[in-house]
Subunit: 186 residues, 2 copies
């Protein structure tokens, strides 16, 4: 086995999710994960701060949100900006990994500490969206509402996407969820 | 000093919030709180599990939400149910305690663990609202959206209420926040 595994991170992640699903998150150790992946614990800690980070890796979504919002034309209406941004994230980050995300969700739901970490992650994304809208010149309360809207749409649409019997894309479910919200508020 | 203080809980809370504000949450101990309140630590632990619970005491809001939703007429439209429920909570629980709630918010914002506890509390309220709407016969995605709407409205309106220069009631700001959301989505 070559020392430099270009796919080490992916293999560690897959091994970890398998083990968490088989024997529980709390009961799984880093050496067990690295043994299953055929890699060293040293390699593990090059990629992840701890076993929890395997499930939450990448703080890149807030940074992505910030960039998309800074680059969007100033005239673009805020709801379109949110929906297009979420569709972009859905197609690039979520759609190719549905089974893995479903397994991750089950593990997160099984552990109180993981659920708190997920809520924290969601709050960080919400803050990034709110700051982005304030920078685009929106009043504070409206920016806060739009940030809540963005994270709420993603969260509700994500559950629909993972729980569906069919095979609809997340990027189709997101605008449908907005339509449901509009109809509910009408 | 009488052994049975009918206002012991209130005095402990006031003493704790003063000390958290003066010297920080982490640096404040339970004996310091009870010394300032002129009560024993034993009394403290009769009212609160730990010093964090002084800031989050009372899991009564999810229970209140559950009761209001079960008792509301089946024909009541869901958005009206949410807004009337929030106005009820605003007038009975929040309006009489604005300064205290403002001080609590500042302390919570100063400590990562307290912020996580607050996010958890919000998630519990959201779950109660979602379950209430599912019991009222709404489809799952709509119930989840309404739960997100309820907690989002309360959170954004609460910040407006605490940060305002003027003296508007929270129960007036809540429907105005909904109007802003409707206009944003239109």
């Amino acid at each position: 086995m070559s020392r430099w595994q270009p796919d080490a991170q992916e293999r560690l992640k897959r091994a970890a999710i398998e083990l968490f699903a088989e024997q529980g998150f709390a009961a799984t150790t880093v050496p067990e994960i690295t043994a299953r992946a055929g890699l060293t614990t040293r390699t593990f800690f090059r990629h992840f701060a701890d076993k929890r980070e395997v499930l939450f890796g990448g703080e890149e979504i807030p940074a992505l949100a910030e960039r998309l919002m800074a680059e969007a034309p100033p005239s673009l209406d805020p709801v379109t900006l949110i929906v297009e941004g979420l569709k972009n994230v859905a197609d690039t980050r979520f759609e190719p990994r549905r089974e893995e995300i479903r397994a991750q969700r089950a593990i997160i739901r099984s552990d109180e500490g993981l659920r708190e970490r997920e809520l924290h992650k969601r709050a960080v994304i919400s803050d990034a969206i709110r700051t982005g809208f304030v920078r685009r010149g929106l009043p504070r309360a409206q920016a806060a509402l739009l940030a809540e809207l963005g994270t709420a749409l993603l969260s509700v649409a994500l559950d629909e996407w993972l729980d569906q019997e069919g095979d609809r894309r997340l990027s189709e479910i997101i605008p449908d969820t907005l339509t449901t919200l509009r109809a509910t508020l009408a």
